[in-house]
Assembly symmetry: C2
Homo-oligomer: 308 residues x 2
């Protein structure tokens, strides 16, 4: 899978992924009104509004980008109807040829991680048949439980040509509270990084393994250090845009081929119509055009910073 992601980035000349995190506050009023009129002002209505929002966004930007990253929390908050919208979004992105990174941050003890891995990036056997319950191409994984929480995902990556991104150094302000604490002379996140290289060692496709890492764009120095410490690890980089990072912060996350990392923006793209400079050029009904303009600007910003 990581080879497919690498190639898709090259083909579209766009090392970016769009976070489909449809907080209801970002969904234009006219879409919510229509969905509520059809499905009621409740979980069903909210889920329909979210799905319609996603579909229009995908239709307008899928030609420009290699991948999307739906954030499962934003769908779980609308209960079962929300999770149906999550699944519909995955399937529609696949129809449009996009790689889907499920931002699920799961992680548990061995037998339970097996179930998460089967449900999201793997297959589940029922009687004589196998099923793909959610069918994301890649998923984010939390490392706090150690190897036996992560290796069931790695096994599924090998069996089904999928990939994962393990949280190493997250983009949020308090990520250092535990992740930066010094153990044997280096921060915890570097110990996790060493394990990520180890977990992925026999899943290489080209230069990179199917066990990637999440490293926040908001920590550019750490990102550059981790790039060197994890030579076979593809990096998923959240925190661009709304969380404060810009293109110039990002060069250190990439390799000499200006690949090996993919930068996520969520609100900065899907809610572009609510913010300068886009809100002056696009009305609420043109939210998907604003998103397209923001994608174009983001690709230019990052490619310029990389000298791509």
């Amino acid at each position: 899978m990581i080879g497919k992601l690498y190639d898709a980035i090259e083909k579209k000349n766009a090392p970016i992924v769009v976070g489909l995190d449809p907080n209801l506050a970002f969904v234009p009023g006219f879409l919510k009104e229509k969905a509520y009129a059809e499905k009621g002002e409740g979980l069903e209505g909210a889920a329909k509004a979210v799905w319609k929002f996603n579909k229009k966004l995908i239709d307008n930007i899928s030609d420009l980008i290699p991948a999307v990253k739906p954030q499962s929390a934003m769908y779980e908050q609308f209960g079962i109807p929300g999770i149906k919208a999550y699944k519909k979004t995955i399937d529609y992105c696949h129809e449009k040829g996009l790689i889907v990174i499920g931002d699920i941050k799961r992680g548990d003890i061995g037998s339970t991680s097996e179930a998460y891995a089967a449900g999201h990036i793997g297959k589940v056997r029922i009687g004589e048949n196998e099923f793909l319950p959610f069918d994301e191409d890649m998923a984010t994984v939390n490392p706090y439980l150690g190897s036996d929480g992560v290796l069931p995902f790695v096994k599924v990556c090998k069996e089904n040509d999928r990939g994962i991104f393990v949280l190493v150094k997250t983009s949020n302000p308090s990520s250092g509270e535990f992740q930066d604490r010094i153990i044997d002379g280096k921060p915890l996140y570097e110990h996790v990084a060493a394990k990520v290289e180890e977990w992925g060692a026999d899943t290489l496709e080209g230069d990179y393994s199917n066990v990637g890492a999440v490293v926040g764009a908001t920590y550019p120095e750490q990102g550059a250090a981790l790039r060197k410490l994890m030579p076979h690890t593809f990096i998923l980089v959240p925190g661009y845009g709304a969380q404060g990072a810009t293109g110039k912060d990002l060069a250190g996350f990439f390799d000499d081929n200006k690949n090996g990392a993919i930068v996520n923006s969520s609100r900065g793209i899907i809610a572009a119509y609510t913010k300068s400079p886009y809100k002056d050029r696009f009305g609420e009904k043109e939210f998907a055009d604003a998103a397209r303009a923001a994608v174009v600007d983001m690709i230019r910003d990052i490619n310029e910073a990389l000298g791509r």
Copy 2:
């Protein structure tokens, strides 16, 4: 919420919680056949079998226990139908007066943790109304992202009288890989434990806060140390039974009142009919009677060890 849990343990004289983790391998063949005949040998059929399994178990043991802990992975592995069975299980347990601990181990950056908290233990606002999407009473939370990943859950605990259990020292064999590493002279899990006390400080109900901790029964020495380090923290203790711990390992997790902790068993109860000594006494059709016998034995084992 933690006061309710404390009181329910006293009332039933049972500091135990049953993990509703219905791996399909534990569901008796006759239930699977019937469900597949009705709903097909696929995700819908598997979810129906799981729900029927849970319902019968709950009917047979709910009078003995204060709480259940459904493991979301075991439902997510069956896609949308599986998650519907998760929700049905929560609602049915509430009808039976049980406290429901959603073992979801979520944790993310601030705005995303807000969505998880709203979806699982909180409310989501849609237009003028509020909804309870999953409506668990308590949930497990992963601390790797630090305070701004956990505090949105704590906020919801205060607003809606709910509780959480933060992963401190997990029960799995490789939990020490990161959790036991020494930082400033003490293991990472003790640093997390200190934060758990801090996060819960203004959510006290009686002796305990609504921010609990997960500490594995498989690490009894660490459990006893953590009991002392976290005097206001209720402890959820997985790892009893199938993972190897017995009653005598557990006394150190409890307080002087022989409360303040709740011990989980999943497979040991719900799959009791497949294992000695129960498999000699109960056939597959009596799986729920075997579960009841295993609950009775577990309560006796733990209460004897505690001198309750």
